[in-house]
């Protein structure tokens, strides 16, 4: 084993990651605030009214970032899970477990905002639009992952089982997305799409990008917070946890 690899493993040990994550969290919150405020300013005070959808289109400034994050987090989660399966590192499983609720929240927000956009635009809270339907199935996949991990008592087994499920999910997501799209065109589903309709002005794009960055930073911050709790829960019996300042007090 090369020297560099050992360093990597040291960094990936829960013991050294716990304080590191603690130091990183405030920075990610600060970035979330900066990008969030800039993004909200652009999306509410700079971006002009849309010719077709009026002010209603402003929902895309959170709908699109939430959808992006829900998919991206699943990929990251599966990557951590696969890493854990391949290298047997303890931290990987914890990271995957910490990311899942945030990913589920993003999928839920995407569905919620999609429904609130759909009511005035399509006249219905729910339309079997290809994107919304795929998002719904993605939400189910997250719930399945969380439920499976919650049902297994042994954390090591939970990690491995979750990892296999996440990897199976990753293979399936493109297939599901493609099949839903195919099904949607066959049934002539909703023709007005939430993301395509506004003639994308430069400012709108920037607003969306900034909001996506804010969501991204938020996800990292909150996942790090959760992983810190998970690390302590799982390493309760180790010496380093007993020697933590916060525990000694």
């Amino acid at each position: 084993m090369s020297n560099r690899l050992i360093n990597w493993f040291k960094f990936a040990s829960p013991q050294s990651f716990y304080p590191l994550a603690g130091k990183m969290i405030p920075w990610f919150w600060a970035l979330t605030a900066v990008f969030g405020i800039a993004g909200l300013w652009l999306s509410f005070f700079v971006a002009p009214t849309d010719a077709v959808q009026g002010e209603g289109y402003r929902i895309i400034f959170i709908h699109v970032p939430a959808s992006w994050m829900s998919m991206f987090i699943y990929l990251v989660m599966a990557a951590w899970a696969g890493l854990g399966l391949a290298l047997n590192t303890r931290l990987s499983g914890m990271m995957a477990q910490a990311l899942a609720p945030t990913g589920a929240l993003m999928a839920f927000l995407s569905l919620w905002t999609g429904a609130l956009w759909g009511k005035p635009m399509w006249g219905a809270w729910w339309v079997w639009d290809a994107r919304l339907t795929s998002e719904l199935i993605l939400f189910f996949l997250y719930i399945g992952f969380i439920a499976l991990q919650a049902a297994i008592d042994d954390p090591r087994r939970a990690d491995k089982a979750g990892a296999i499920l996440a990897l199976v999910g990753v293979v399936n997501i493109p297939i599901i997305y493609f099949s839903v799209k195919w099904w949607n065109t066959l049934h002539q589903g909703a023709s007005v799409s939430l993301t395509k309709s506004p003639s994308m002005a430069q400012t709108m794009l920037w607003g969306m990008l900034l909001m996506a960055l804010a969501f991204w930073m938020y996800s990292i911050a909150v996942a790090l917070m959760r992983v810190r709790a998970i690390i302590l829960e799982r390493e309760t019996h180790t010496e380093w946890v007993k020697e933590l300042e916060a525990v000694k007090r």
Partner: protein, 221 residues
């Protein structure tokens, strides 16, 4: 290869000794399908339209019923450990078990489908497509379901959890399977749907036993 045949033969023999379990799932399929006209009404046009979807959803649910037992019995009496410790690769034995599952739970659905399709006023050519789609699709259900069955092996509330894990993964099979019949009825031709189903099946035959084996090893640790 002889070991693969041996496990298929063993599981078929066990299924024959416990016919009631197999028949329960089959009758569940028949009853669910027969309930739909009672709930929706007997107009032939409407029934023809919902037939593929109803038959497919009922097939998914009937498969779920039998999936629970795919590995659970072997796990409980310790024979699964013996399979894992046999000189034959576990992946091969798992493939055999999945094949036996299809023969005992998938194939009977395929054979029954035309009879039930008649209840929904489907014509002969549509029935042919239905059988073809189920023939390609039900092995897919067994393969994907096996992963879920292995993951939830010995887990609290495994049965409900299994449906939660597996049903979302069944979406493509449902869409292409039911879509094939619909496309045929509406005159679009079912070949596209059927070839996509076949492609999915090829992919699943390659990956699913492997993932199932990995999940079983995790469950036995």
């Amino acid at each position: 290869m002889s070991a693969l045949l041996a496990i298929v033969r063993r599981d078929l023999l066990l299924a024959m000794r416990r016919k009631s379990e197999m028949l329960t799932a089959l009758f569940f399929f028949i009853i669910v399908v027969s309930l739909f006209p009672l709930g929706i009404g007997p107009e032939p046009v409407l029934l023809r339209k919902i037939a593929p979807g109803v038959l497919w959803v009922a097939a998914l649910l009937a498969t779920m019923l039998s999936l629970n037992r795919l590995f659970a019995a072997d796990h409980a009496d310790g024979t699964l450990e013996q399979l894992a410790l046999s000189p034959t690769p576990l992946g091969l034995l798992v493939t055999g078990k999945i094949a036996a599952h299809w023969l005992t739970s998938g194939l009977p659905l395929v054979l029954l489908a035309p009879v039930l399709g008649v209840q929904f006023d489907l014509d002969a050519s549509a029935l042919g497509i239905l059988v073809g789609a189920l023939l390609l699709g039900t092995p897919l259900l067994s393969l994907i379901g096996a992963i879920g069955a292995a993951l939830t092996l010995g887990v609290r509330g495994g049965g409900v959890l299994l449906s939660l894990l597996v049903l979302p993964l069944y979406v493509p099979a449902l869409i292409f399977g039911a879509g094939a019949v619909e496309a045929h009825i509406s005159g679009l031709g079912a070949s596209g749907h059927l070839s996509l189903l076949a492609a999915l099946l090829a992919l699943a035959v390659f990956f699913a036993p492997w993932a199932t084996t990995a999940a079983l090893r995790v469950a036995m640790e």
